[in-house]
Amino acid sequence: MRPIVASRIAASGIAASVLAGPLLAVALAAAPAAAQQRIERRMPADPHASIRIFNLAGSTRVTGWDRDTIAVIALVPRGAGKFFAGGAGSAAKLGVLSDSLGAPGATLEVSVPRGATVWVKSSSADVTLSGVEGDLDISTVSGAIRAEGAPRRLTAEAMDGNIELTTRAAITRAKTAGGSITIHGGGGDITASSVSGAIRYDGAHKVLVGRLETVTGAVTFQGTVIRGGTLSIETHDGPVDLTVPRDQLADFDLTTFGGVVTNALSGGGEPIVPKGKPVRFSSGPGGASVTVRTLKGNVRIGAS
């Protein structure tokens, strides 16, 4: 569009000098829309289809719905790469393929059968999922991951992106190196791991097996561990803040070598310096097992 507009302006003499400014402005404003391709595609899919989605940059939103169809709306700017979609029935693959890491980002809106198993791979694209009840496997480098709903099994992995899960899955695995992990729904078997990012769990559902580990990030746990369940928290020097219901039955085992322990659950809440000697207490027999281990972090435990 821009070359045509420019040539007409050049050929129209005085009028052109008057109109050139506004016309150019209109042309430039219209350029991004014209350079962006909108693609809509629909494919039949089984209720439990396996669907792979690729989108390096931009954003990807996946929503589960009660139809036996995969529906895609893709907005692909010029230079973002080539849209593709293939497969049907039990397996499908779609996305935007780009050879350049600096390519502009595409936007994918994908609706999938609620029971589908979904893989999403991205580099800097933000990924959002909701309403999918099959297995979810999401991987990104620097993009953010957000998921909602009740997938069967959830794996979310980022290098530097933040992960926020408002989900209730039987098994949850969340891993990021520099990003943060926030789990609101929780319950079941949960592993969250980061290197320098914070981990926050405030799940409404009871944890069966919880494992939260970070090197320098802070860990905040606010929730309930099921009877017979285990919660293990390990940091190198990240502080640990643990809040459980006052009637939580558990054996607690808290160890820090260079930090302080503040026990407001069974003790008076005065900080003590255990210097590596475990602080152990039980709130009743037959409960859960809660272990906190840190080299230099402070540990606080309290009741909700």
Partner: protein, 207 residues
């Protein structure tokens, strides 16, 4: 029906194998007993997770040296490796993770009350981790050009954080040899390093 008898019936009740009379008795008891209703709730929450548990058994720790030797020979023969070898290394590193974890669990389960562990096993486990991370680093170096500069920077920044943690844990363990908690923290840092390198290898593989 008392609580002990009711709790014995919860599993068959959830599995659908309890007969009609047992079901009726249990339901009558649950209607009047909050504690047993809590047990039922816990057991119900447990079922999806236990059904999804893996059925394989972790390999023994002594598999790792043999795998390492074979992989090391391949590394020395070929400077540039095809992508599948990175996958093999990543899988092998996963073996050492599982083996180290199993060994640690075994100590804890066997002797929870004793504050010290046999120090002779510590160097062997650490050697396994060191070998695993070194192999993964070599494999990753060969593929580093596939990663975006920002990803490499993130990787190196976080590896430095982990290496500093490993150094501090090792120093603390040297001052208090055999301390099980310090060992667990050291292994946790090594696990983080192996997992991060595996993650970077996967990213390089699909770039």
């Amino acid at each position: 029906m008392n609580c002990d008898a009711a709790r014995d019936l919860i599993d068959p009740f959830l599995a659908g194998t309890l007969d009609a009379a047992g079901r009726r008795n249990l339901e009558e008891h649950l209607a009047t007993c909050p504690a047993c209703r809590g047990e039922l709730e816990d057991a119900t929450a447990l079922r999806p997770a236990t059904a999804a548990l893996p059925r394989s058994i972790d390999p023994p720790h002594d598999l790792w040296p043999g795998i390492t030797r074979r992989l090391s020979r391949r590394i020395s023969r070929r400077a540039a490796r095809p992508r599948w070898q990175i996958a093999v290394l990543a899988a092998a590193a996963a073996l050492v993770l599982m083996a180290g974890s199993s060994a640690l669990t075994l100590w804890i389960v066997r002797d929870r009350g004793t504050p010290r562990v046999a120090t002779g096993t510590t160097p062997a486990i650490e050697a396994g981790y060191v070998t695993a991370t070194a192999d993964l680093m070599r494999a990753l170096d060969a593929e580093r050009s596939r990663l975006a500069p920002a990803t490499v920077a993130t990787l190196e920044r976080n590896l430095a954080v982990i290496d500093a943690a490993i150094a501090e844990s090792r120093a603390a363990l040297a001052a208090d040899p055999g301390n099980r908690d310090l060992e667990a923290l050291l292994w946790a840092s090594y696990r983080q390093k192996v997992a991060l390198l595996q993650q970077a290898s996967r990213l390089a593989e699909r770039s």
